[in-house]
């Protein structure tokens, strides 16, 4: 709580900067309009104009807020929450492919981690490639994956989810390998004195002690998975999803629409990562591992 005041100050400064930048960036267009209408702009008129243009270079925060409200809350109240013009619908499309990719990526990541911990050959041959795989800018392949999968008849959620999966499995592998190896020699010896089988050691010692590592990686994986889903929507000329909103906004110069999609994506990321944080706190508390 003692961080609240500094954080709020920083956020307030950011908003002030945003409004200031909106004036600066939009001023040329405002002057241009005024010149054509043969009026001279006073300072207050200039500010009022720059904060209320239709297609500003940088929309002011309240314009974005109004646009978000118009495409979410108001449409929901009108009973059209899932109409194609509603941002809730687009966020839902992105959310579903994020979740599918996240689930696939987490599953793959845990499976690989178990293999790496228990098999020396896999450890030595796969682990370097897992790391190398992330130095490749995979998002570059996104359009191709989608086109190829489309060509063999897979379309819709799965291609986008594949990209999310590729981005999200890496943190899980790295975190889980660390976590599964975290029990010390003392604890492993203790399991051996109890004559535990290797399956028992896994379920009763290794898996529980990897939980803190797992949740930390899940947070990173979730953020990465959302990025994957949004980028996966870009190159396909997708008609739905936050990425598609970004793209159509950039085609038609609808800056307010871009910014509202961006804020929506940020909110989605914050909510999803926050949810995992909450799960982490509850789980670790019940396991008696909370700090």
């Amino acid at each position: 709580m003692r961080n609240a005041i500094p954080v709020l100050t920083v956020v307030a400064v950011l908003f002030a900067l945003w409004y200031g930048a909106a004036v600066m960036l939009n001023a040329p267009w405002a002057y241009d309009k005024a010149k054509r209408a043969d009026v001279t702009l006073g300072f207050s008129e200039l500010v009022a104009d720059t904060w209320s243009q239709d297609k500003p270079k940088l929309p002011a925060p309240h314009q974005v807020a109004v646009e978000i409200w118009n495409t979410t809350g108001e449409m929901a109240m009108g009973g059209r929450a899932f109409s194609k013009r509603s941002l809730i619908y687009h966020a839902w499309v992105t959310f579903s492919s994020t979740m599918l990719g996240f689930a696939l990526g987490t599953g793959l990541g845990i499976a690989l981690a178990v293999g790496i911990v228990y098999n020396r050959t896999m450890d030595m041959s796969v682990m370097p490639w897992v790391i190398a795989s992330q130095t490749i800018p995979i998002l570059a392949i996104a359009p191709m994956i989608i086109v190829v999968l489309n060509a063999i008849g897979i379309s819709g959620l799965l291609p986008k989810a594949m990209i999310s999966m590729y981005l999200s499995f890496f943190p899980v592998v790295v975190g889980m390998v660390k976590g599964l190896r975290s029990p010390g020699p003392m604890q492993l010896d203790q399991m051996r004195t109890w004559n535990a089988s290797s399956a028992q050691t896994f379920w009763k010692l290794r898996l529980p002690s990897s939980m803190p590592y797992l949740f930390t990686s899940l947070k990173i994986a979730m953020a990465a998975s959302l990025v994957g889903a949004i980028v996966g929507e870009l190159p396909t000329g997708a008609v739905a999803g936050l990425g598609a909103r970004l793209l159509s906004g950039s085609y038609y110069g609808q800056t307010i629409q871009i910014w509202s999609a961006l804020i929506m994506a940020a909110t989605l990321a914050a909510v999803l990562v926050g949810l995992i944080g909450l799960m982490q706190r509850i789980t670790l508390k019940r396991m008696g591992m909370a700090e």
């Binding site: 050959t121 030595m124 490749i136 990321a269 914050a270």
Partner: protein
């Protein structure tokens, strides 16, 4: 059929070789050989599967086709590499990381700013920042300047958070020692705190290399001059010339790993004293 059997045989042979090698004591040789054999096995399998099942080139070209295309169009590939990786990604990377380190040193003097900026920075680092690409392309035009701007925004926050954390990584004993020497703020900064922060700074720099290439390529999807890796990939997908797309991906992979490897080498040279580096030698 022959190809599929050959593929399976290659897989079995590669795995067996790796199994044998991994039982040897760990040395430089085995740590290099095992992953290389694994990679080669995968490529051979790929070739065999493509030929064995007669997969059309439009879906998945064989590695040999990609290699042929790569050799045939080095001119285009080099031009795209310069446009995207050097002009876009590298410029943005240097600017973004430099600015983040300078800002981190600046806010490090104020506890208030640190407490305010760190949570915000951590939050922003988790956001899908690539989404700002269309806006920045609108502001800075289609050429590489807008790509560099996207890269700056993408690398800035992870770098800031890492540097601030690194600057805090000295304990009070060490700082007290500097004070007994009568060291000024700048002396303490350059002789104690920046060197101590190096492992964190390099961690940030390594994360940023991947982000930089991704940012530069994705920004090209929103508009670019008629060269650049992202541009080439999206137009070649449209023309269904998949071998060129794959050649471009090979370039991206080489650039990405080269970039990362370069930073890792510098890290090794500069933080040789740190336990995480000494343990591996």
């Amino acid at each position: 059929m022959m190809w599929i059997i050959a593929g399976l045989a290659a897989w079995a042979f590669g795995w067996w070789l790796n199994h044998v090698l991994s039982q040897w004591p760990r040395s430089r040789f085995t740590q290099l050989a095992v992953p290389v054999i694994f990679g080669l096995t995968l490529i051979v399998m790929w070739e065999c599967v493509v030929r064995g099942f007669d997969i059309p080139t439009v879906l998945l070209p064989a590695p040999t086709q990609i290699a042929a295309r790569f050799a045939a169009s080095t001119g285009i590939l080099w031009q795209d590499f310069v446009q995207t990786a050097i002009k876009g990604a590298l410029t943005g990377y240097v600017l973004g990381c430099g600015a983040a380190v300078l800002l981190a040193i600046a806010i490090d003097r104020s506890t208030f700013l640190k407490r305010g900026l760190l949570p915000v920075g951590n939050f922003v680092a988790a956001l899908p920042i690539v989404g700002t690409a269309p806006i920045l392309v609108m502001w800075f035009g289609f050429d590489w300047q807008s790509k560099a701007a996207v890269v700056v925004v993408m690398v800035f926050f992870p770098m800031l958070v890492n540097t601030v954390q690194g600057l805090q990584d000295t304990d009070s004993m060490q700082r007290d020692l500097m004070r007994t020497y009568g060291a000024s703020y700048w002396q303490t900064l350059f002789k104690l705190r920046l060197p101590a922060a190096m492992p964190f700074i390099f961690n940030g720099l390594k994360i940023a290399t991947t982000l930089a290439l991704i940012g530069a390529i994705v920004a090209e999807f929103f508009g670019s001059p008629i060269k650049g890796m992202g541009f080439r990939i999206s137009t070649s997908v449209g023309q269904l010339s998949m071998d060129l797309v794959w050649a471009e991906i090979v370039v991206a992979a080489l650039a990405g790993s080269g970039f990362y490897g370069g930073v890792a080498l510098i890290e090794k040279a500069m933080t040789f004293w740190h336990p995480s580096q000494r343990g591996r030698a």
